[in-house]
Symmetry: C2
Subunit: 368 residues, 2 copies
């Protein structure tokens, strides 16, 4: 099998049968990469060699994975030699340039950037919902959805399978780490500047205290919420908002689904929350929704407000599932449900979903 052929289909099972596949983690030193190494150390180990890759800045540093200190390699063509699966957790432009190179070298790429997600020749995969789509990858690339979509889609997908989804109206409460290490550092620095003060009650006082230190955010995030994430797209929409629409449609296989999202950043370190107004083709009840969510793989139902039980980021962070609570049927529409959903944007929202996809590919490659 030539490299060119590998780019269009998957590596032949024969090649990897009898040995464990080699994995490259590109972006191993980033926020997502760091969580990925933790997850690789926690999950059942299906991998042979694991190669860690980042920029030349990080070359020679060590990172622990599966208990072994492993040297970080600088990104180059050579690092993909003999690699079966390459996970990419790097900025868009690095994925755009290097994913095709990894594919040409024979790897299946699982990419976490925004570059390939809407490419019709690239499957966009959430294993609980559309694992089958990962088998057809004409460009040798499988895309990992955006973290905001991922934070809710497992729960929404389970309800869709039963009731038939017709509309989603979504508002997000997105964590700082969705903007990478710079986002976390910015929020922590701003919190240090406002804690112990009386700030937050006068126009612009937080803005003055924070000064130019808004990092990747277009306004202060401490003691504030910022109704903007991503880049400006058409008609006043942000890329984060259109991403929720486009990716939900693609993952669920519903190209006509009505979706309206408003994406807002909040001063939380990690774990995105989302309020969902989901309208279905059929009437719904809270009891049915509870039963579906309680049994859905990858979902935890926490919904007993009388006992003070509902999901919050502080509880969901660092855990794998999508947490769902506050399930209510709209008083004025028996076909609609209101939900509050939390998901760790670095785990299910990124690293965990990538690991799940990569394991799916590994199983495919090693099954004769």
């Amino acid at each position: 099998m030539t490299e060119g052929c590998a780019a269009r289909t998957s590596a032949a099972p024969a090649e990897t049968a009898g040995r464990r596949p080699t994995l490259a983690v590109v972006g191993a030193t980033g926020v997502v990469g760091t969580v990925l190494l933790e997850i690789l150390s926690q999950r059942e180990d299906v991998w042979g060699e694991i190669r860690l890759v980042a920029s030349a800045r990080s070359a020679g540093r060590k990172r622990a994975v599966r208990g072994a200190e492993t040297e970080v390699l600088a990104l180059s063509e050579d690092v993909f030699e003999g690699v079966d699966v390459a996970m990419f957790d790097v900025p868009d432009e690095i994925s755009a340039r290097w994913a095709p190179i990894a594919v040409a070298k024979g790897a299946v790429v699982v990419d976490n950037s925004a570059v390939f997600r809407m490419d019709p020749d690239v499957p966009l995969v959430v294993p609980e919902i559309n694992a089958h789509a990962a088998r057809v990858r004409p460009r040798g690339v499988i895309a990992n959805p955006d973290c905001t979509t991922l934070s809710m889609i497992v729960a929404v997908g389970a309800l869709h399978a039963e009731f038939g989804l017709s509309e989603l109206i979504v508002s997000s409460y997105q964590a700082a780490s969705g903007a990478g290490r710079a986002g976390v550092d910015t929020l922590r620095a701003q919190l240090a500047a406002v804690a112990g003060t009386e700030l937050g009650g006068q126009p612009g006082d937080v803005r003055r205290a924070v000064g130019d230190g808004t990092g990747p955010f277009p306004a202060p995030l401490a003691l504030n919420v910022v109704p903007w994430a991503g880049a400006l797209r058409e008609d006043g929409w942000s890329s984060a908002e259109l991403t929720v629409r486009e990716e939900s449609r693609k993952i669920l296989g519903l190209p006509e689904l009505r979706v309206a999202a408003t994406c807002v950043r909040v001063p939380v370190v990690t774990t995105h929350s989302v309020t969902v107004h989901a309208r279905f083709e059929n009437e719904v009840t809270v009891a049915q929704a509870h039963e579906i969510l309680a049994n859905a793989p990858g979902v935890v139902l926490v919904d007993n407000p009388a006992a003070g039980e509902f999901p919050t980021p502080a509880d969901a962070v660092g855990t794998d599932p999508t947490w769902v609570g506050r399930v209510r049927r709209s008083m004025d529409d028996p076909t609609a449900l209101e939900l509050f959903v939390c998901g760790d944007n670095l785990r299910k929202g990124a690293a965990l979903n990538i690991a799940q996809i990569a394991e799916f590919v590994a199983a495919e490659l090693t099954t004769p």
Copy 2:
């Protein structure tokens, strides 16, 4: 005119004609009361004597209003002697007991508690929308709406007047001061506990740091968002959520309006934010919505994301208007708009609206 009569209509213009009306501020030492005193000092002065009232705990303390240090009186029947208008900014049970007493003494009560808002004999007033309703007050009481409803209703009302509102789907980002002084103190103490730490990345780490210090909130608020406000009502809804539905219907005079709200507390000191999906009877355009909002009294339009301009709590806090931005027409529904709205929950959300209502009554009382 007897006291009994005063309870059913307003004080006779003849009584106050020729003199400025006497005002009592009940709850003058609270979070809302404090802002009210500021506002009374800033607005055109229509009042004669201003009497400050709180619990016996505060009696004898001094508070500045209109530049004069004024002694706080303990709540009693006597404090309402000769009072024309009494503003109540106290807990529900104090309003329930004392508002009828103030009315019996001849005052018109403008009440900010939840007790009277849905009483069919009590008007629920937002001067920009339904000032006329304040004239008909069979119980002598005018209710001030809840802060979350007030944070958005001026903007929504302006759009309704033009397009005819049919549905509201709302998610809130509510500030700590919506829970009074205890809410602000709790958030500040929690921020001091988490600032300068690495907390926020592990399950329960914020919860452990905060311990029992969650104050009026059912979960930690620093580095977190809490999908709960108010008390548990039927079918899993919180009182805050049903309040948005019931009060929006009453203020707009649309008893059949479809409303679904999810209320979430965020770590902001003051200023509630709301995302709104508003569906109308007719097609809408962003250009028309911009024009309406730019000209609506009490509304500021801040909507130029290309220049990084949208409302945030840090900018809206301490100001009077309702700030609106992120105006988008739903891609899948030409009759629906998405908005992001911010309003200072202590000003327009409480004290300012009360001051406006009271001034309306004062004008009525003094106009022959």
